[in-house]
């Protein structure tokens, strides 16, 4: 178990580094080291979790959104971790396992980066942020 934990944590860290060193404005959810060795949860600003999953359909991932439940509330766990309501809908949970290979980690990182970049191009929030607008100060027209 100790050797396995170390092995998986190293792969998880590799996945994290490849993603977070390539993309800006992505945030790790939870503690950096005091977490399960096989778990990674990242919020990608300006893109929505379910849409991201659609962009990497061949990879088994999970989003923190509770869109499929009766309410539009995001994950209560992320909320408890202090993830803001704006980022709660933008998170992806990665789970690595005993049979995950380094190749799969590299592939996943590459595809995630591609999908995030594509969705940011489609995002009005990303556009507003690039224009220097502080999204927290915007008065949203909620119906």
């Amino acid at each position: 178990m100790p050797t396995e934990s170390k092995r998986i944590a190293a792969m998880r860290d590799r996945l994290q580094a490849q993603i977070m060193e390539t993309l800006d404005e992505c945030y790790l959810n939870g503690h950096q080291t005091q977490r399960l060795p096989h778990n990674l949860n990242i919020s990608f600003a300006y893109v929505e979790g379910e849409a991201l999953l659609m962009g990497v359909k061949e990879i088994a991932l999970s989003s923190g959104s509770a869109c499929t439940s009766a309410t539009l509330e995001p994950s209560y766990v992320l909320r408890a971790l202090g993830v803001g309501s704006d980022l709660a809908h933008s998170s992806i949970r990665f789970g690595l396992g005993r049979f995950t290979t380094e190749e799969e980690v590299d592939y996943t990182a590459k595809r995630m980066v591609e999908a995030v970049k594509r969705l940011r191009e489609m995002s009005p929030l990303y556009e507003m942020a690039k224009e220097g607008i502080d999204l927290k100060s915007v008065q949203w027209a909620v119906h």
Binding site: E48, A51, M54, L72, H89, S123, P124, L125, Y126, E127
Partner: protein
């Protein structure tokens, strides 16, 4: 989540994704939704002689939200401003086969259409009022 083929198609091949210049007098911009809800749509129309000649969208939201707004821009192009008001969220639900849990995406798209139309009308009447004022002052 079972997405219809049409939703997936709009996601992979979004129609009219992009932006029009907001300051342009012939452009109406509607921004609806909120990041905390996981859904924000920006819809823009360019109107010439009362007809919508161009439409663009950008969306923060799930595949169904992206498809709803993409479809909206397709339907808007070529319609007059009055015809555009007739687009209902139920038409979008039917066209995209949206399941009950995603109906709110179509509602937001209809709101975005109306917001863009209202913005255009506001700018058009302000422009007309300014024009009248200039004419009155010139007299």
């Amino acid at each position: 989540m079972a997405y219809s083929e049409k939703v997936i198609d709009h996601y992979n091949n979004p129609r009219n994704m992009g932006s029009l210049p907001k300051e342009d007098k012939s452009v109406g911009t509607g921004i609806v939704g909120a990041p905390e809800c996981g859904d924000v749509m920006k819809l823009q129309i360019k109107v010439e002689n009362d007809r919508i000649v161009d439409a663009k969208f950008k969306t923060f939201g799930c595949g169904s939200a992206i498809a709803s707004s993409s479809l909206a821009t397709e339907w808007l192009k070529g319609r007059t401003v009055d015809e555009a008001y007739k687009i209902k969220n139920t038409d979008i639900v039917q066209e995209l086969n949206l399941p009950p849990v995603k109906i709110h995406c179509s509602v937001l798209a209809e709101d975005a259409i109306k917001a863009a139309l209202e913005d255009y009308k506001k700018k058009a009447s302000a422009g007309a009022a300014q024009g009248e004022k200039a004419v009155a002052q010139a007299k």
